[in-house]
Point group: C2
Chain length 421, copies 2
């Protein structure tokens, strides 16, 4: 049992912050066992860490990121999707056949997630088993949670990034045998890249792997209009892009997260709701790649779960705080066009990034009892130059703060310092 | 004469970067007198500062910012324009009747501009003469360039922010007498807040002041649809919002900059072109306040000059580098809807923020001969972990860098350190 004292802010529900000035959180075995305005007598003997006037908030979850595109973060933004993939993304991912290169870059990547306060990540790796293993080992060593997907793809991609279905299945099986442990912080996730880059055989094999091992699934969905038309062409029997995944057992038969969903509506939206498929909303990527603007309000209204993703390197920012800002801004542009779609409030964006996204990992993203203690301590003294309210202090940090203001990071109750990383 | 050596990047024209690896810039009397790949023999005796592998670029210009809204930066983003003005903006501006408060906050503000690499600013102050003087003195002390406007307003605003026309004119005259000097770095600019908050008498007086002293003008234009309808109501004889300013001598009769212009089109656009009225494009503010998305491509195609503005506190970020990113992203959303409006490239956004914006201050924003040497030295070694090209290094800094990477700042040839600020 350990007690942490600070100004506590979190979101049990989307519509408001729970705010406890100078409050206490009791943590035992990595989990929250109580949040208090005043410390109960029974806990007065427990060791306390007092963070003074700092803010204590749930840690961030990045629900969609391409770890091997880390090198390309913030470059080549003048290109559209296809030349960007051909000239930057695929050549870069091909380099991950080299485990030495992978080790160097993945280490920078994991450190940067840490720096930005992201304690749980849903990541694409590449098709390469050994590099994927390295990334998983790095997350383990850091003590940070992650679902890591060895990517499966076998059409419409360069030969260096193509595998046979048999090899893909065998590589996945090896990683699953090694990492798929009850309660593990770092776990495999079945990762067909997206329908255009997977043959029906590959998609079928992915669905079977997910079912056989009861593993979650991640992929891309309805990111841009050209892609949707392409999928319609490739999968003419499916009634929607989402339905195509569904037919292969890749759409909610096990927990599923789909990046983007910019153009999802109608039947596909209803299928997501029914199948509890989570959207990884990636607003900066959608802007940078001219994909369009997804309507998070529509997802919320439809009861479709949502989290936020950095989508490096379509997105350029790893900070999930900045994804909240972009998610709000994009929602305001949609509100401009359609006043029935109220823009996202700060508490909604925060709830999406923490408790809503965190549900993909179990009880993560809130400070309610029995939630894993994933937390950040924010020292905003430099930003708090005129005695703002606690909610305004959090808002200011989200809008104008950065990694300099994150002074402690916890995952599953353990402080993560990367001191021997 | 002094020589600076570094990797030099700037934009003579919007369509490409001029890049000189390990190049030299010769500066004399605050002005660029030559840029060289190899140092000419005649200059070999001159003192050199060698910045090694760092990047040397023109400094930033913020073309629209409300200095007294600095305290509200990054808060109250859940509100729409009117409650935001009533509950946050006007009460905050009213505090600037107190010069002690003004001094404390303006000092933080100027320091933060500096931190973000902004060496020239076009700022709104408040209606208060003494606080406005303080802000001008702080810019002078810093050695940074600015047009600072004492704000004029006399209707549709709280009594604490209302002045008589006579008082406004007298206050302006005093500031003009004190600060309007040939070649001064810090100068007055005539600043009617916007048409709804100025009576015809106030607008007329502003136009007369501008004409009498040949001073530039700044205001707001066509920010959102409700405002445009309001102006139509208030100025029924004008054919457009811009034309209303024009009739008062406030639209290009002297150099003029208008913030936002989100909904400017047709006749108003043509009037801007003819009158050489510059747009201060403020993309984050337009997103945060749900104003809409201005089309910079339309301005460029029409030949209307453009710069970028942070518009604190409608905008939340002081960094003009981040304004470039947002300007590009907003242009991509418009490109999504209308493929005839090509999105902004990086060099275009950079040119807009430097040479195009800088033209409002004279020869500022480029490293061509006779330009004032306003420059930043960027140490991106932390970001350059895999030997990127110089253009990619600049792009990465713009997208993912911050004030930590700005290690030297020059305005008019002088290094600005704020060491005794």
């Amino acid at each position: 049992m350990h007690i942490y004292k600070a100004n506590i802010l979190f979101t049990k529900v989307k519509d408001k912050f729970d705010i406890i000035p100078n409050g206490y959180i009791a943590v035992e075995n990595g989990k929250v066992v109580g949040v208090y305005e005043r410390l109960p007598e029974s806990l007065c003997g427990a060791p306390i860490t007092d963070f003074g006037d700092k803010l204590l908030i749930p840690a961030m979850n990045d629900m969609h990121v391409h770890a091997p595109q880390y090198r390309n973060q913030g470059i080549a933004m003048d290109l559209e999707l296809l030349p960007w993939l051909d000239n930057y993304t695929f050549p870069e991912e091909s380099k991950y056949a080299d485990t030495a290169y992978a080790k160097r870059m993945y280490k920078l990547f994991v450190r940067d997630l840490w720096r930005n306060g992201t304690m749980r990540t849903v990541a694409f790796a590449t098709i390469h088993r050994e590099s994927t293993r390295l990334l998983m080992q790095l997350f383990q060593k850091a003590g940070m949670g992650a679902f890591v997907g060895k990517v499966d793809m076998d059409r419409n991609c360069p030969p260096t990034l193509t595998q046979t279905v048999a090899d893909a299945v065998s590589d996945n099986e090896q990683l699953i045998a090694e990492f798929d442990k009850e309660d593990a912080l770092v776990r495999p996730i079945i990762t067909p890249r997206f329908i255009p880059s997977c043959t029906p055989e590959m998609l079928r094999a992915c669905g079977e792997l997910a079912k056989k091992h009861n593993l979650p699934v991640q992929s891309h969905l309805s990111e841009n209009r050209g892609e949707i038309a392409w999928v319609k062409d490739l999968e003419p029997e499916s009634s929607s892009y989402g339905d195509a995944y569904f037919r292969y057992g890749l759409f909610g038969q096990t927990p599923t997260i789909m990046a983007h969903c910019v153009w999802t509506e109608g039947e596909e939206l209803e299928l997501m709701r029914r199948q509890r498929v989570m959207v990884a909303h990636c607003p900066t990527s959608n802007l940078n790649l001219s994909s369009g603007m997804a309507s998070v309000r529509t997802f919320l209204q439809a009861g479709v779960p949502v989290g936020l993703g950095s989508d490096i390197s379509g997105g350029h920012q790893l900070s999930i705080f900045k994804m909240m800002v972009y998610a709000i801004e994009v929602s305001k542009m949609q509100y401009c066009r359609d006043k029935s779609k109220a823009f996202l409030t700060l508490s909604e964006a925060f709830w999406i990034a923490t408790k809503s996204a965190g549900s993909f990992f179990g009880k993560v993203g809130s400070f309610e009892n029995d939630y894993e203690f994933d937390a950040l301590v924010i020292d905003d003294s430099e930003l708090n130059h005129d005695n703002y309210s606690l909610q305004h202090r959090l808002e200011r940090f989200i809008y104008i703060g950065d990694d300099r203001h994150i002074v402690h990071r916890f995952c599953r109750g353990k402080e993560i310092t990367l001191s021997d990383f």
